[in-house]
Structures are given as C-alpha cells and as structure tokens.
C-alpha cells in the first residue's frame, strides 16, 4: 500500500519490519511501534509474525501428515495418502542416496526440513501487500509473512542441524576421534616438533570448515528468499506509478513468481540435501 503520504523507501522499510514484541529499555515489555524501537529492544524481543507463520505452517504440515499417517493403509491409498507418500518417498530416496549410516532420525528430520522450508518459502508467492493489508484492517501494522526471510528462522534451523552434526560426530567418533578429525587433517607429519604447528593449522582450517556449514546453510536460504521478497516489493512499487507501469509490473510479477516457484522448491531441496550430507559426514569414520 504505497499511499501518497509515504515514500518508496518508507514503503520498503515498512515491508521489511517484523511485528516485534519485546522488552524496550524505556517502555518495558510491549509491542514495538517502529523499526527503530524494535532495534532498540535488542535480544529481548520476538518476531511474532515470523514465529506465528512458521509454526502455523509446520502445524499445517503436521496436521495433514498426521492425518495421513493415522489413516495410512497398506491397501489402496486415498488422495491425501498418495500425495503424502509421494513426498515421503522422495525424501526417503534422497536420504538413502546420500546417507550411508544407520540413523532413524535423519529421514524424519529431512522430511520436516524440506516441508517446512518449502512452505515458508511458498509464502513468498502470496502477493506482498495482501496479507499485510488484511492485517492492517484489524490494527496490526507490521506483518512479514515469509518466515524464511527472517535470519532468526533460518539460523535456528541451521543451528539445530549444527547441533545434531556435533552430537553425532562426538557420539560416533568419541570426543578424541572428533578432535582428531579436526586437528589431524589435512596436514600430517611424523616430526614431533612440527606436529603441534600442523595441528593448530589443521584446527583453524577444519574449524572454519565446520563453522561454515551452519552459516552457509542459513545464509543461503535467507539470502535467496530475502532477495526474492525484495524483488517482489520493488515490483509492487510499480503499481503506484500509473496504469502503464502498473501493467508492466503485473507482467513482471507474474514472471518473477513463476521463476520463484523454482527457487522456493530448490532452496527447500538444497537445505534438506545439505542437512543429509552434513549428517552423513558426521557419521563417517574417515573422510
């Protein structure tokens, strides 16, 4: 809603502000009324829109998949079971292809991640002004509907995966084995003097390698979705530039949305596949 009273910059900024509830140093607990207030809250704040949409979407997933699971029959499957089984089979194939160890957690984890990221990304295809406008009618002024454009959400997913990587690395290889893996490669020597130096270098290299996993995982998703959302917002700005530019904007939005279908699916797939691969590496004794 690019009204006459707000500039393009304000419109964009408005769209990129989360509905924030938190502790403000001056006003105490409460809703943030501006982006600046939200920033001043620091860590003691929560994005109600990101959490609401992401939990709502995963609950939708859980509801339908649970229903399918409850009515699951080995006989002729219904339409819901058919669709659910297609996704399950797809995830299962990927897990079996990339994950060589034996761990019953990986496949359900991959399924949850794939569906969740896909659903969150899918919110990007909802016209950018529709939901914020609907919420503004009931007095909610900030509404970011794509949870995966919130780094909190993507980092949380990546940190969850990272925790599992650390957990299984230590569980499978032991603390010594894991540390050995971090310090014993890629440089190796039998020279006792050089060995500590090499181990330090190895630790730095492998440490960066390890830390890069969750960061790349979350930033890739966040960056793609944030950029996609930004393009949608910029296209939406064209609707306020007269009917000619508006029609052109409509065409652009359609094209970008079609392209975004690919991005939405691809990012969900990449997140899932990398999770599987990272956990496979955590399970591998030697690599």
């Amino acid at each position: 809603m690019a009204g006459t009273e707000i500039t393009s910059a304000e419109y964009i900024k408005h769209h990129l502000t989360n509905l924030t509830f938190g502790y403000h140093p001056d006003a105490g607990w409460g809703m943030a009324h501006t982006a600046q207030e939200a920033a001043e809250m620091g860590f003691n704040a929560i994005h109600l829109d990101s959490i609401g949409w992401s939990v709502g979407l995963i609950a939708l997933f859980a509801f339908y998949f649970r229903r399918a699971a409850q009515r699951a029959t080995a006989g002729i499957p219904g339409a819901l079971q058919n669709g659910v089984e297609m996704i399950i089979d797809f995830v299962n194939e990927n897990v079996r292809g990339s994950f060589s160890g034996k761990n019953d957690l990986v496949a359900p984890l991959a399924l949850t991640i794939f569906c969740w990221v896909f659903l969150m990304n899918l919110m990007d295809l909802v016209p950018v002004d529709l939901l914020p406008w609907l919420f503004s009618l009931v007095g909610v002024h900030y509404m970011k509907v794509v949870p995966s454009t919130d780094p909190n959400v993507t980092f949380a997913l990546a940190l969850g995966v990272f925790a599992l990587i650390l957990f299984y690395s230590i569980r499978i290889k032991g603390v010594g084995g894991f540390v050995g893996e971090l310090t014993g490669m890629p440089f190796q020597t039998d020279n006792l003097l050089l060995k500590p130096v090499f181990m330090l270098v190895n630790l730095v290299l492998e440490g960066v390698n390890l830390i890069a996993k969750p960061i790349s995982l979350s930033l890739r998703l966040f960056g793609n979705m944030y950029a996609g959302e930004m393009i949608f917002i910029l296209i939406a700005l064209m609707y306020s530039g007269g009917w000619l530019i508006g029609i052109f904007g409509g065409a652009l939005q359609f094209v970008w949305a079609v392209f975004h279908i690919l991005v939405v699916t691809l990012q969900a797939f990449i997140f899932m596949t990398l999770t599987i691969v990272y956990l496979d590496m955590a399970h591998a004794e030697h690599h």
Binding site: I46, S54, F65, P77, V153
Partner: protein, 159 residues
C-alpha cells in the same frame, strides 16, 4: 535483521516438530508403504504360482486324457474281441444243435422205418398165414402142419 529471541523460539519449535515427525508421522507411513510393497510382491508371487499351477494342471489334464484315450481304445478292442468270440461261440453252438437235431431226426426216421417194416412184416406173415389157411383149410390140418406153418412165418419175419 535483528537476532533475538525469535531464534530461540524457532529452535524450540524445530526440535518439537522434528520429534513429532519422528514419532508420529514417519513410522506409520513408512510401515504402510513397506507393507504395501510386501503385499504387492506377495501378490505377484502368488500370480506367478497360480500360473505355474495352472500349467501343471493343464499338463495333468493332458496326461489323464491321454490315459483315458488309451484305456478307451483298449476297452473297445477288448469288446470287439469278445463280440467276435461270442458270435463264434453262438455259431458253433447253433451248428452243433442243428447237427444234433438232424441226427435225432434221422434216428427217429430210422426207428420209424424199422417199426413200419416190422409192422408190415408181421402183417404180411399174418396175411400169408391167413391166405394159406384159407387155401389150405380143407387139406391142411392145423395141428399137423402147425410146425411147417410156424417155420414159414419165422422165415418171413426173419427175411
């Protein structure tokens, strides 16, 4: 772009829903799919088995039919043999009976002829005696010529 408690909340939700999927979604669906896979495999195996059984039954039917055919031919040839035997027997019996009856008839005829001949002889002897009696009534004394007359009668009877 603020990192805040959202991250913690999202992390908790993540753990909760992964647990939910692990516990309530994945196993039943996977079980159903595996069960169906097993069912289909069983069905295919059963179908193949059925086909094999059918082929075997076909073979058995063929064998039984063959046997029945052989048996029928045997029965037929036996029956034919027996029939000719019966006909031959009947024919032989008939011929024997005919011969027997013929012989009996011939014997009877011979008997009758003899009887007739005897009768005739006796009559002739009587007639001769009677004739001779008539002729000789006067000259012939029955008592004196009795021996001669008897001799004549005997000769006729014997002749």
């Amino acid at each position: 772009m603020n990192i805040n408690l959202t991250l913690v909340a999202q992390l908790i939700a993540f753990a909760a829903f992964v647990w939910f999927t692990l516990r309530f979604i994945w196993p039943p669906l996977m079980n159903a799919m595996n069960e169906r896979r097993a069912k289909i495999a069983d069905g295919l195996a059963a179908a193949e088995q059925g086909q094999q059984a059918q082929a075997q039954a076909q073979q058995e039917v063929e064998a039984v039919l063959q046997q029945a055919r052989v048996q029928a031919a045997e029965i037929k040839s036996n029956a034919e043999k027996e029939a000719t035997q019966i006909v031959d027997q009947a024919r032989a019996k008939g011929r024997a009976e005919a011969e027997r009856q013929l012989a009996a008839a011939q014997a009877e005829i011979a008997q009758e002829t003899n009887k007739a001949r005897e009768g005739l002889r006796a009559k002739v002897a009587e007639l001769v005696v009677a004739g001779a009696e008539k002729i000789l009534r006067k000259e012939v004394n029955l008592q004196t010529h009795q021996a001669m007359l008897n001799r004549v009668a005997q000769q006729i009877q014997a002749g």
